[in-house]
């Protein structure tokens, strides 16, 4: 009897040992890589290599050791760059990526990639052939932000920012906080691919440039690039971009400046909230887009000494703000007509709401786009005047 | 290759003693038939000899011979 129990215990222990062994040996996969062996890429730039006509790929890689140093002493002991822009060339993006291992010895780990910057020359030539890798690669994230550089992407990625250690993170932060002025817009890879796949809609991407300020190189956002299919055909400046965002309903905040007649001064308003509704209408073969905008703002600054907190002044200022918004929208619309690029997505809206009519319209959409009439209905409400009721100015003599 | 042989020896050791002890001869015969088929298939795979795929044959019969097919996008 005891012999049977002994055998049973033995079998039980051997099973337990086997399970424990399996835990240690089988967990993980043969594709595992240690953190020390990774080259963590936080930004990528694609340019055209002038000599060979191939692609010049820049990958911004984080240097582990340098990240430890505090940013205060960054200027002090040596260069203290926390990143390394490593370049590789090749005929296709994937080939360039692998070429970079000639310089790094480790494969690039692109899961943390935040930005993808394309040089302007590539953008004018057409981005279709370079985008596929960024969408298809297994480790890439569709949340990566796409940008177009005013010159070369390499220069943008070399510009070391003042308050951040890594240029790519800095750029990503810049773009994500577009809401402060709403003068440009965040476009990630998925949105860009979605616009590319549409026949009628034109993709847009923010433009970033490098300015030399003495020895320092600062980067700044300079509007949006407009594409037709995949080629960059023009740009929207800040006001035009905001006009576009008004229509898309993506304005988060910003400054509305109105000036008074008779050169009395200006008043600046902070945009608190903006909603938009676009209704496409096809009337007698002519397309009319009804755009309704509702915005709320607050009085943030006034340069005139006049007391503006009265009902008539408010009415006047609300009308003036609506006029400013309307001008921004018309500026955007005129620019898009000049470039013949449907950045607003009007074609898509017609496809969704009037799908049977869209079939006959879509082939001639380029010509039809020029004839679209834009009908705006803008309403601005001033919610508050911040902390001042009246401006701090000397009392005027009552006449 | 070695892994294949090890796995199949393991299968043999796990199943056969129980069957013989309980004198289940019918089960043992069918087990052996399936076991040999599995082993041969595994061998073909390891030796890189192409294993005929029944779905390819079905696809051929249904699409080409009988002509039942959905239009390609």
């Amino acid at each position: 009897m005891t012999k049977k129990i002994n055998i049973k215990i033995n079998i039980l222990t051997s099973k337990l040992v086997l399970c424990l062994l399996m835990l240690f040996m089988l967990s993980g996969c043969s594709g595992g890589r240690e953190i020390n062996d990774l080259e963590i890429v936080i930004g990528m730039g694609v340019d055209k290599d002038e000599d060979t006509g191939n692609i010049l790929l820049t990958a911004q890689v984080v240097k582990e050791g340098e990240m430890e140093k505090s940013s205060g002493s960054g200027g002090g002991g040596g260069d203290g760059k926390a990143f390394w822009n490593v370049t590789g060339t090749g005929e296709s993006v994937f080939e360039s990526v692998r070429q970079i291992t000639h310089k790094t010895g480790n494969r690039l780990f692109v899961s943390h990639n935040h930005v993808i910057i394309f040089g302007k020359d590539l953008a004018s030539e057409g981005l279709q052939k370079y985008i596929d890798f960024f969408l298809r690669a297994h480790e890439m994230r569709p949340t990566a932000i796409i940008l177009i550089a005013e010159g070369r992407a390499l220069d943008v990625m070399n510009a070391k920012p003042e308050t951040e250690k890594l240029p790519a993170m800095n750029i990503a932060k810049l773009v994500k906080t577009y809401g402060f002025t709403s003068h440009f817009y965040k476009v990630n890879m998925k949105d860009f691919a979605s616009c590319l796949m549409c026949d009628s809609r034109s993709p847009i991407a923010p433009l970033v440039g490098v300015s030399k300020d003495g020895d320092n190189k600062d980067i700044y956002m300079s509007g949006m690039a407009v594409f037709k299919n995949d080629k960059m055909v023009g740009r929207l400046n800040e006001d035009e971009t905001r006009g576009l965002l008004w229509v898309l309903g993506k304005v988060k905040s910003g400054v509305l400046l109105i000036s008074f007649p008779n050169k009395q001064g200006k008043a600046a308003f902070e945009i608190l909230e903006a909603k938009s509704k676009v209704i496409p209408e096809i009337k007698d073969g002519k397309i009319v887009m009804h755009v309704k905008i509702k915005a709320e703002s607050s009085l943030s600054e006034q340069t005139t000494a006049e007391d503006l907190a009265t009902i008539e002044a408010f009415e006047k200022m609300q009308k003036a703000q609506a006029e400013v918004i309307r001008q921004e929208i018309m500026a955007a619309f005129d620019k898009s007509r000049e470039l013949n690029a449907d950045v607003f997505g009007f074609g898509e809206m017609i496809r969704k709401k009037h799908s049977n009519k869209w079939k006959s319209l879509k082939d001639k959409w380029d010509e039809i786009y020029q004839t679209i009439e834009l009908n705006t209905d803008i309403e601005v409400k001033i919610q508050k005047t911040d902390l001042l009721k009246k401006p701090a100015s000397p009392k005027k003599e009552e006449k | 290759m070695i892994l294949l042989i090890l796995i199949y020896i393991a299968i043999l050791l796990l199943s056969v003693p129980g069957l013989i002890k309980r004198k289940e001869w019918r089960e043992l015969t069918f087990f052996s038939v399936l076991y040999i088929i599995a082993f041969v298939l595994g061998l073909l795979y390891v030796l890189d000899i192409p294993v005929p795929s029944p779905m390819k044959a079905l696809q051929y019969i249904i699409a080409d011979v009988l002509g039942i097919k959905y239009p390609q996008q």
Binding site: C29, S30, G31, S111, L135, H138, R141, P142, T143, K190, A193, S194, M197, C198, R351, K352, K353, S355 | I7, Y8, I11, L14, S15, G18, L19, E24, R26, E27, L28, F30, F31, L34, Y35, I37, A38, F39, L41, G42, L44, Y45, P50, V51, S53, P54, M55, K56, L58, Q59, I61, I62, A63, I68, K69, Y70, P71, Q73
Partner: protein, 368 residues
């Protein structure tokens, strides 16, 4: 003669069916190529059309209590024709099981473990399934509660996390696609999540009480389909027109979750859910296959056949298709056509013949 000595209660049938339907969550990714933004209506249409057929399976199971599919075939069609039909069913089970194992292999090879050699993924997965099957149906039924919970929590939570990125105008226009594509999509939906519930004819014989079966089956179908719907709606709303280009829209839409820089990279949730659910489906299929083969050969228990069948299945899974592209293309065409008679013709026919001939005849020493 009962091979399975276990009993499952009715409530467990509900969970089994729910988990089974939910495990087709990876099928949604595959159908999107054909039906794009109309996938949700294809799922609903599939449910509506399939329900009468599934109810006919339940009616068959009720009419022949305690018997599984092979026995029913023998009873209705006679010894010879019944066995021929059973062989057809066994072929179907073998092929479909290998497709599902291949699905998991592709899932891991594309997204989660791209550097691991393919055959090892298949071997480990199939070995785990085989182990689960040797434990028996009762254990599978008890564990199904856990899988169903996973299958509900993952789609719902990813849906809620993505609400701010959703654009519901992506569903318009409602009827843009040509009817033939919608029909193709409905056919795929009928064959794969709903038609494959034919395997439950092997399992319903073990349910100990047959009264609540219809209600439980319908409830299970409804809950499972709602999980599928939530996943389909989430994918279409978030990805819009890029839905059709990604290999797996579920993965890509979950990769877009980016809340407060903390909740990022949530695509592991989809990986877990799909693995666990397909494991469940494979175990059920494997169980059905083992019982069917041993019933056909007249054996007393299905246990010895499990391991050799596992070996055969692994090799079939590894060799039947050359690449995911092949897999998708052939499943869209021949894969769903050859199974149509099995799911939609033979069971109602069996029911009709049984009603006309007054089967099952009273026991004439048929069993042990």
């Amino acid at each position: 003669m009962r091979i399975e000595k276990g009993n499952i209660c009715n409530m467990q049938l509900l969970f089994l069916i729910t988990g089974f339907v939910q495990s087709s969550i990876s099928l949604i990714d595959f159908t999107v190529v054909i039906t794009e933004h109309q996938t949700w209506m294809v799922i609903l249409a599939g449910l509506v059309i399939a329900t009468p057929f599934i109810l006919s399976y339940v009616a068959l199971a009720k009419r022949f209590p305690g018997m599984n599919l092979i026995q029913i075939n023998d009873a209705v069609y006679g010894r010879f024709l019944g066995k021929v039909i059973s062989v057809y069913y066994i072929f179907f089970l073998m092929m479909t099981l290998s497709f599902n194992i291949l699905d998991v292999g592709e899932l891991y090879a594309t997204f989660l473990m791209p550097d691991t050699p393919f055959i090892y993924l298949l071997i480990f997965f199939t070995a785990t399934c085989a182990y689960a099957v040797t434990k028996g149906l009762e254990v599978l039924a008890r564990v199904s509660h856990l899988f169903v919970v996973v299958g509900i929590i993952v789609p719902v939570s990813t849906f809620l996390l993505l609400i701010d990125q959703m654009d519901f105008s992506n569903f318009l226009p409602f009827f843009e696609l040509p009817l033939i594509r919608v029909f193709h999509g409905i056919h795929i939906m009928l064959s794969i999540p709903f038609g494959e519930t034919i395997v439950f004819l092997m399992i319903m014989g073990s349910v100990n009480k047959t009264e609540g079966m219809v209600k439980n089956t319908l409830t299970g179908l409804l809950i499972g389909t709602s999980s599928l719907l939530i996943a389909a709606v989430r994918n279409t709303a978030v990805l819009g027109n890029t839905e059709a280009i990604w290999t797996s829209p579920s993965f890509q839409s979950t990769r877009l979750i980016d809340i407060g820089t903390v909740l990022t990279r949530m695509d592991f949730l989809i990986g877990i859910a799909q693995t666990v659910l397909i494991f469940f489906k494979c175990s059920l299929f494997f169980y059905a296959l083992a019982v069917a083969v041993s019933q056909l050969f007249g054996l007393k228990s299905y246990l010895p056949l499990v391991l050799p069948l596992a070996g055969i299945e692994v090799i079939i899974a590894a060799t039947v298709f050359q690449s995911p592209v092949d897999h998708a293309a052939i499943t869209q065409d021949a894969g769903i056509i050859y199974s149509v008679p099995l799911m939609f013709v033979i069971p109602p026919l069996s029911l009709l013949i049984a009603k006309i001939c007054g089967l099952p005849k009273p026991e004439r020493g048929k069993g042990v």
